[in-house]
């Protein structure tokens, strides 16, 4: 039952969106977020939505999958929408009903806020959908390389992240096994209220943690045996290299982001 959890949500493919350097994609998402927060008119929001639509089209990621990504944050989106809609003071009130009122600015804010969150999430999801977790970690490590001078343990963080990703399927399998073993001895995970359910998880978590620590110990020894001694002097099998498409994509990204900021100056 736990087997069908897909983490990282990567959809393999061969489109340009997949082939772009992970660093490019991370930078593009950052630019997109900046632009999104600078946008404040129908024109700029339209531009942002259009950008996303074009990217989605290029990447061939199904819209269904993108919309599914919105599900976990649905509550936040609705909540923000309602707050903005009813509690923003404005010049003109469209509806007034007791202490609830909808002003023109309220309506505007609500629509834009909801749009902003949705575009933001869909934009980031598009990156994780088209980039494998490994290359994403790799990209992050390379991007943050400069922080090493400030004694930020960039390599260690990236290594931890990739090991965590590597062990997700192993630990899920293990959880499955432990649950089956407990069920075979009459444990009940389904019935009862929330507190009882949470309590029923303790006999799963304890052995899982113990085994995870044991695994960590063995893995550390195995890594040392394969001459692991930190990030110093390490080379790579796959070296990230910017291609022409990366420069083009980055140039387009910067152009659009700058465009949005300029439009903002003109009050659009």
């Amino acid at each position: 039952m736990l087997k069908d959890i897909t983490l990282g949500q990567y959809f393999p493919g061969t489109t340009v969106a997949h082939k772009l350097d992970p660093r490019t994609k991370i930078l593009l998402v950052v630019l997109y977020i900046v632009a999104l927060f600078c946008a404040k008119s129908l024109v700029t929001y339209g531009l942002m939505a259009l950008c996303l639509a074009v990217c989605v089209y290029i990447s061939k990621v199904s819209i269904k999958a993108l919309v599914r990504g919105l599900k976990p944050v649905l509550f936040i989106i609705i909540f923000t929408g309602i707050l903005n809609l009813f509690f923003t003071p404005g010049d003109r009130y469209l509806v007034e009903w007791g202490f609830l009122h909808i002003s023109d600015t309220g309506l505007r804010n609500a629509v834009f806020m909801v749009l902003r969150i949705m575009l933001l999430i869909m934009g980031t999801f598009l990156m994780t959908y088209t980039t494998s977790p490994i290359s994403l970690t790799d990209g992050l490590e390379r991007l943050l390389n400069g922080l090493k001078k400030l004694h930020v343990p960039v390599h260690e963080l990236a290594m931890m992240m990739s090991i965590a990703l590597r062990f997700i399927p192993t630990l899920i399998e293990e959880t499955d096994k432990i649950m089956s073993a407990q069920k075979a001895r009459g444990a009940d995970f389904e019935s009862g209220n929330l507190i009882q359910k949470a309590k029923a998880l303790i006999p799963i978590l304890v052995p899982l943690f113990i085994s995870a620590f044991r695994r960590a110990d063995e893995l550390a020894t195995a890594m040392e045996c394969r001459c692991y001694h930190g990030g110093e002097g390490r080379t790579k099998l796959h070296v990230l290299q910017y291609q022409r498409r990366d420069y083009i994509a980055l140039a387009l990204g910067v152009l659009i982001c700058a465009g949005v900021i300029v439009l903002r100056q003109f009050g659009l």
Binding site: P133, I134, P169, A222, C225, H229, R234, T235, L237
Partner: protein
């Protein structure tokens, strides 16, 4: 032939609880392992065989005595990387020694650590995967492979360091018979074709049949040392140490006790059958 690994008066104790005397897992082991040989180390649980294996590349450091790898002292910290590059180690649980979630990335881990240039890593990864017969899985996810396949990936990960010696610390213990056979034939081939010294730690007697040398550990000491034939004829002593002898030897031993004049050192099934027929004809 030159020496791959040499131990002198090797002693080792695991840290004990406070107030208690440390229990020695190794109490004076003197061994000399020749380059290019295939050595099987046998022993029941707690005999010190795994501890011994872990001292061979400095995972555990001797509490007394010395371990030399190609003349390098494992106690010299500055030589540790060089020693570990020469002596690769494969452990019991394949899941706990695979680092990456793509096969080729995992095999590349050791050469990456050693700072090998990118093109050379590519060549080593491909060669190592071909050597263990897993080249077709180069871009697979390791967790979807069988136990025997995972263990072969782990071996490839070690070969990519281009070591002179591979130590398999009960690497077949968690595998099914097919997986075990896969791993064994792989290491035998590496031993024959590449001349890599293989030290196989196991409690499966049958895995010792084709070895050049069998070392039996008991209570932290070397109890027997010799060719498989020399070791397995000592049936009673092996049983006394809690070890089961191979089925063929067991059969011959029983026949021998019942008065049939058979030799005890026919290890393979064929040799055993021949020995019995010969003895029956003689009667």
């Amino acid at each position: 032939m030159s020496t791959m690994i040499e131990t002198r008066e090797l002693r080792f104790a695991y840290p004990a609880d406070e107030g208690q005397k440390p229990v020695f897992a190794l109490r004076g082991v003197d061994l000399e392992i020749e380059k290019g040989s295939f050595v099987v180390v046998l022993g029941h649980n707690g005999s010190g065989k795994s501890t011994l294996a872990k001292t061979f590349n400095g995972v555990l450091l001797p509490a007394g005595g010395k371990v030399y790898v190609e003349g390098m002292d494992t106690l010299d910290e500055s030589l540790l990387l060089a020693i570990r590059q020469r002596v690769g180690m494969v452990f019991q649980n394949p899941d706990n020694q695979i680092v990456a979630n793509v096969v080729e990335e995992d095999v590349a881990f050791a050469p990456e650590n050693l700072g090998v240039p990118t093109e050379e890593i590519r060549r080593r990864v491909d060669d190592a995967l071909k050597a263990v017969g897993m080249y077709e899985f180069v871009t697979h996810a390791p967790h979807l492979l069988s136990g025997g396949q995972k263990q072969r990936i782990a071996i490839a990960g070690v070969i990519a360091m281009e070591p002179d010696c591979i130590v398999l610390d009960e690497a077949t213990a968690m595998l099914d018979p097919i997986g075990r056979q896969e791993v064994l034939s792989t290491v035998h081939r590496l031993n024959m074709e590449k001349g890599i010294t293989v030290i196989l730690i196991t409690h499966h007697m049958n895995e010792a049949e084709d070895a050049d040398r069998v070392i039996v550990m008991d209570d932290g000491k070397v109890a027997m040392d010799g060719t498989p034939r020399e070791v397995f004829v000592q049936v009673e002593d092996l049983r006394a140490m809690g070890l089961t002898v191979p089925d063929t030897v067991d059969l011959l031993d029983r026949l021998h006790k019942d008065g049939l004049p058979v030799p005890l050192d026919a290890l393979t099934v064929e040799a055993c059958a021949d020995a019995i027929t010969a003895a029956l004809r003689g009667n």
